[in-house]
Amino acid sequence: MPEVLVVNRNLQKENSWLLDTYRRDGGYAQAERAVRESTPEEVIETVTAADLKGRGGAFFPTGMKWKFVRADSNTPRYVVANGDESEPGTYCNRFLLEKDPHGFIEGMIIAAFAIDAHTGYIYIRGEYGFAAERVREALHECYVAGILGEGIFGTDYKLDIILRRGAGAYICGEETALFNSLEGKRGNPRFKPPFPTNSGVWSKPTAINNIETFACVAPILEHGAEWFKGLAVGKGNAGTKVYCLSGNVQKTGLFELPLGTTARELIFDYGGGVADGRTLKAFKPGGASAAVLTPDLLDVRLDPSIIQHETIMGTGGCIVLDDTVSIVESAYRDALFFEEESCGFCIPCRQGTPNLVQILERILQGEGSMADLDLLESIGESMASSFCGLGQFAYRPVVGALHRFRDEFEGYIRGELPVSA
């Protein structure tokens, strides 16, 4: 089965990142038509009807988000593209930023018009230097071509889009931490409510969406809501998702597939199965934050409904673990990542993340006790009340692994498994 290329439709083209290439195949026609001929309400209606949901992992309905922003009379309003793609195993935004920057910029322009914003920000993680350069060049092309700036597309609608860079913090992908960082402050999250739709950048109503979400917008306007909805499989899904496959699998990389594709299809049909003749031990469906699933769950759909299996869809970064992998070590690596990335703002996450690391180290070194397993659970209970999503999810890969592979944890404690270095 071929991929369904909507978001990634331009990636393989020669000089795909240039405005000329993008426009040759009808690029910016949707933005131009929206700005010149549509009303903001019509745009929001179409996006709402298409049932586009946030591709950053929260799957909040995009049309509803824009409607909320527009309903707030406070001005100015802002549109923000979240390009702080930092979830381990996730790199779909990176390819869009580097190879098709105009695709999501067009989506941003349409969103800005829909919410009557005159300023947009693109926030790109510090590590994505090349991606940022490509976006900078793309924005420049847009200004020269009258697609951005005063009176775009020959109308009196004004829109500026400003590029901002992160400085290497996972937390800044959290939308409110991103706002703080964007405003020049320390990147720690803000309390919600108020939500970004009422109080985002500069405490003004803000539509913040993932790069991939914006990239869906122009195709929706071009082909219609019904077309978009028809792309997906599974209940309540619409459109495609760019899944990122990594780990010990035959073919790693990006696969744009109907949203709701099963793990089995992704790993075996598209990824060619486990590499090196090994067998599948477990897989993480949505980056480091997602708890592992076992092979008996290969037929679950990679969509938000996966939450019933004590894991998350997340960013769609699927990581394949073969039978040589120590699940406890894998959980330890996740714990190390979150210890490194906890911003230190709230107590449960600041203290919980290193506590998880310490206990897992103890267990891996053969010095753990059965009581440590209870301790992992209780740290999780405390971290559930963390301030933001980072802490609220950071314990789940550890506790989830414990629930599905308790034997392996106990094996280390009982000295049946080799002590790790």
Binding site: A169, I171, R186, N188, F191, P193, E339, E340, E341, S342, C343, G344, F345, C346, I347, P348, R350, Q351, G352, T353, P354, N355, S378, I379, E381, S382, M383, A384, S385, S386, F387
Partner: protein, 909 residues
């Protein structure tokens, strides 16, 4: 519409948007908190207040930041919530909580074992002691972020401290890890007050030994003795030693926030050189004598001079630093005992122009509205006031209002801190306020943006003023003021558009030979736009000293009795004659400036000065000194041997703020109690008590304590008739007018009519006059004077506070980079500044705060006294000296001195 919810099974009703914590606490349900602090934004980061939402799918909510919703079912003690708290408390167990017993109790309640006291320090090697006022010991820090919230956007907007690092490594620090004294810290100590664990601790408290710490702590509630804001203080003492100062977050004036002087400036009261015995001049030195001997001498000399030359050969200075009771007693002494109206106070030197202008126009010279109403201003107009340094808590209110959406216009020749918060900074050449305000009025009239209805109903004299305004197009004013015409236009548009504007001004407007006219010009603007006599607006002079409002209210003025009633008014005079049992003079007396600065009507032979220091505070000091030396008899009643006391014949030791019992009246007319922290040192006595004793020796009985004096005043002064010490103790402060005991006091004035003869506000046409001494080729620069954050007036108090001296030890000349370069002056270079009247030497602070052509100095420092240079030209109406402008010359002194880091640190460009 209110929402219904259940907390722990009890049905409660709450206003929508109320946080669960507030709802629970109001209902008596206790939820533990750590990061939460009323009045801050609240980080919500400690999660200790986590509760369980039992309805729906169930959820953990932070009670401090989660609003009550219809149908919520909240269980504060549900296991998931307790598990979170247990986890949080467990995470705190390694923190040194020795100064936080209530947190230790909470740990015990949740079965969490705290680390034993004296355990090894794991988080920070040593407490950081890098400034005079507080110690930072992050071993005790729980990272609640209250301190950074206070220092940041929520309150102070100073941004000296910030969370640094991330994850478990995060801590609180300065930007770039520099020391506090090098940072932007203004040492308000508000972070120290909100710290829940003692990680930030007052240094004086930190330095106490265990034995002293164990001593019982006393807390006395009183009122700050520095500026006119009148902040409430809680002074903490062990024995007679002040350990630290806090402030009640529920306090009506300052909501718990203080500035560096209020929180840390108390040490002067314990200074070793406090006056503790009466002194009589003995050749070149002093002789300690008994009260009997000292007062006997004073009574005799005053009596002799009065007998020889009449009562008007005598004069008295009241003090804006002293109590209402002291000043009431003093003016009564002058009038009833000496028989003269030659009584005045230092309001003459600061806001006499405001009082005169407001009196001429709207009938009364006081804040028409209140500090609280700053929050209701749509536009805040600040002029001639470096508010962040001279009224720091008022500045916090302005910053808060701006943060909440108010517009701010600052009209000031200097680029002061508040300009960073302003929508518009109008930077006039010093002393050109009148054409600026006339031009604003011009634009408003031209654009039809004046309030015609208000003018028709409540104003007279508009037509004459309109004629003058018509002659002041913004282009014309731009030529005089140096403010671009388009900025004047923009300011006028903002003023015309704002529904409610509050005008706030300081001495930049008043201390000119045209000070009264400048104030009248701003009054015209307020009357034309209907911004007075209405809530959320007002003509509000920011009064300088703690009791400068009260001292004038009490009648320590040459022309009025208490309550601003003319001495020439027969009915009023009869009232006081009857009460005091003695005939009183009807002719207004001499102002302080006429007694001292000008030759006046002459003939003054003896002067009695209570708590003032004219030999540093008056203009043209060389002349002032000659006048004082010519006086036949000078009595100074003070707490220190000031520059003025040093030339006196008799010096009488009085009580300081720390020992006083009575009342101060703050800038918005709020009368508040001042309570003694301990007894007076040595033989020092209350000011009112000294005067009563002296009166007795001159044949007049003055009876009763401070409460009785206040009662007598209130009985004779309708605006205060509803007040007494007892009521002030119970009510915590009342704003006059308060005409009867059930009256709540008055927040804003003149809603119906102004207290003028016609009941209308009177506009006065005013026109531009240049300063007395413009710069010329010989003295090419404008010399401007004022104050700094760390010091107070003539420095007699603040220069005896070691920490303030450490932070700001010397006078500095503010000079613009261009002027400095032209004169070859480098940062910190020694300079000689001179005018036609005198010269001084100090070091240069090169800063863009001052515009080219102007230099600026504070007048706190006796060793480089700015008033040696200032001119003693007076405003013809208010008799205020022109402190803000004279011509000067600056020269580089030979022998470059190594910059002394300390003072230039404080003087941040």
């Amino acid at each position: 519409m209110a929402v219904n919810l259940r907390i722990d099974g009890v049905t409660l009703t709450a206003e929508p948007g109320t946080m669960l914590l507030t709802v629970a606490r109001a209902a008596g349900v206790e939820i533990p908190t750590l990061c939460h602090y009323e009045g801050l934004d609240g980080s919500g980061n400690c999660r200790l207040c986590t509760v369980w939402r039992a309805d729906g799918e169930g959820a953990l909510l932070a009670a401090c930041r989660s609003p009550a919703e219809e149908g919520m079912e909240i269980a504060t003690q549900a296991e998931p919530a307790r598990a979170v708290r247990r986890g949080v408390l467990g995470d705190l167990a390694a923190v040194d909580l020795s100064r936080t017993p209530e947190l230790l109790d909470l740990l015990a309640e949740y079965g969490v074992e705290a680390e034993v006291e004296g355990a090894e320090r794991t988080r920070q090697a040593e407490p950081v002691v890098d400034n005079p006022f507080y110690v930072r010991d992050y071993e005790k820090c729980v990272l609640c972020w209250r301190c950074t919230d206070v220092c940041g956007e929520a309150v102070q907007q100073t941004f000296a401290i910030t969370p640094v690092g991330r994850g478990a490594e995060s801590t609180i620090g300065t930007y770039g890890g520099i020391g506090m004294a090098e940072s932007s810290c203004v040492f308000c100590g508000n972070c120290v007050q909100v710290c829940p664990t003692g990680a930030l601790e007052p240094r004086a408290l930190w330095e106490l030994g265990d034995a002293e710490l164990a001593a019982e702590e006393r807390v006395v509630e009183t009122t700050c003795g520095y500026c006119g804001v009148g902040c409430g203080l809680e002074v903490h003492l062990r024995g007679d030693t002040i350990t630290h100062v806090t402030s009640d977050p529920d306090g009506p004036v300052n909501q718990g926030w203080l500035c560096v002087k209020g929180r840390y400036g108390f040490e002067f009261a314990d200074a070793k050189d406090r006056l503790t015995a009466p002194l009589v001049r003995d050749g070149d030195g002093w002789k300690e004598v008994s009260w009997d001997a000292a007062l006997g001498l004073v009574a005799a000399r005053l009596g002799e001079i009065k007998a020889e030359s009449g009562p008007d050969a005598l004069g008295m200075f009241g003090s804006s630093k002293c109590l209402n009771e002291d000043n009431y007693q003093l003016q009564k002494f002058a009038r009833a005992v000496l028989g003269t109206n030659n009584v005045d106070n230092c309001a003459r030197l600061c806001h006499s122009s405001s009082v005169a202008a407001l009196g001429m126009s709207i009938g009364a010279g006081a804040f028409t509205n209140s500090l609280d109403e700053i929050a209701e201003n749509d536009l805040i107009w600040v002029t001639g006031s470096n508010t962040t340094e001279t009224h720091p808590i008022t500045a916090l209110k302005i910053k808060a209002a701006v943060r909440a959406g108010a517009k701010l216009i600052v009209a000031d020749p200097r680029r002061i801190e508040l300009t960073e918060f302003a929508d518009l900074h109008l930077q006039p050449r010093t002393g050109t306020d009148v054409p600026l305000y006339n031009a604003l009025l011009h634009c408003l009239i031209r654009d039809g943006a004046v309030d015609d209805d208000f003018i028709a109903r409540r104003v007279e004299g508009f037509e004459e003023v309109k004629t003058v305004a018509e002659r002041h197009p913004p282009e014309y004013a731009a030529g005089i003021t140096g403010i671009p015409a388009e900025q004047i236009e923009r300011a006028a548009r903002m003023l015309g558009a704002a529904p409610k504007t509050g005008f706030y001004w300081g001495l930049g407007l008043t201390e000119h030979t045209h000070g009264t006219e400048a104030c009248l010009a701003i009054v015209n603007l307020a009357l034309a736009t209907g911004n007075v006599g209405r809530r959320g607006t007002g003509l509000n002079p920011l009064r300088g000293q703690n009791n400068v409002q009260g001292t004038s209210d009490m009648g320590a003025l040459p022309n009025v009795f208490p309550g601003y009633r003319a001495v020439g008014d027969d009915a009023v005079r009869e009232l006081f004659e009857k009460a005091w049992g003695v005939g009183l003079p009807a002719e207004p007396g001499l102002t302080s400036t006429d007694m001292v600065v000008g030759s006046g009507r002459g003939g003054l032979r003896a002067l009695y000065v209570m708590g003032e220091n004219p030999l540093l505070s008056d203009p043209h000091l060389n002349h002032t000194r000659k006048v004082f030396e010519k006086l036949e008899f000078l009595v100074v009643q003070d707490i220190f041997m000031t520059e003025t006391a040093a030339v006196a014949d008799v010096v009488l030791p009085a009580t300081s703020w720390a020992e006083k019992d009575g009342t101060y009246t703050n800038t918005d007319r709020r009368v508040q109690r001042v309570r003694p922290l301990r007894s007076a040192p040595g033989l020092a006595r209350a000011d009112w008590e000294i005067l009563a004793d002296l009166a007795g020796r001159m044949g007049y009985r003055m009876e009763g304590d401070a409460a009785a004096i206040f009662a007598e005043m209130a009985g004779l002064t309708p605006d205060f008739a509803g007040m007494s010490h007892a009521r002030l103790d119970a009510a915590g402060g009342l704003r006059w007018p308060c005409p009867m005991p059930a009256h709540p006091g008055t927040e804003w004035l003149w809603g119906e009519r102004f207290p003028t003869e016609s009941g209308r506000g009177r506009m006065h046409p005013v026109d531009y006059r240049t300063e007395t001494e413009p710069p010329d080729t010989e003295y090419p620069l404008i010399f401007n004077t004022g104050r700094v954050l760390y010091h107070w007036h003539t420095g007699s108090m603040t220069r005896r506070v070691e920490g303030l001296e450490e932070l700001y030890p010397e006078a500095l000349l503010e000079i613009s980079p261009g002027d400095a370069e032209e004169l070859g002056i480098a940062r910190g270079a020694p300079v000689r500044v001179s005018s036609r009247r005198g010269a001084l030497e100090c070091r240069a602070w090169i800063t863009k705060r001052v515009s080219p052509g102007t230099v600026y100095m504070s007048w706190h420092f006796a060793e480089a006294a700015a008033n040696l240079l200032t001119i003693d030209a007076l405003d013809p109406v208010s008799r205020i000296p022109e402190y803000k402008i004279c011509a000067c010359r600056v020269e580089l002194l030979d022998g470059a001195v190594e910059p002394n880091g300390a003072s230039l640190r404080s003087a941040r460009a």
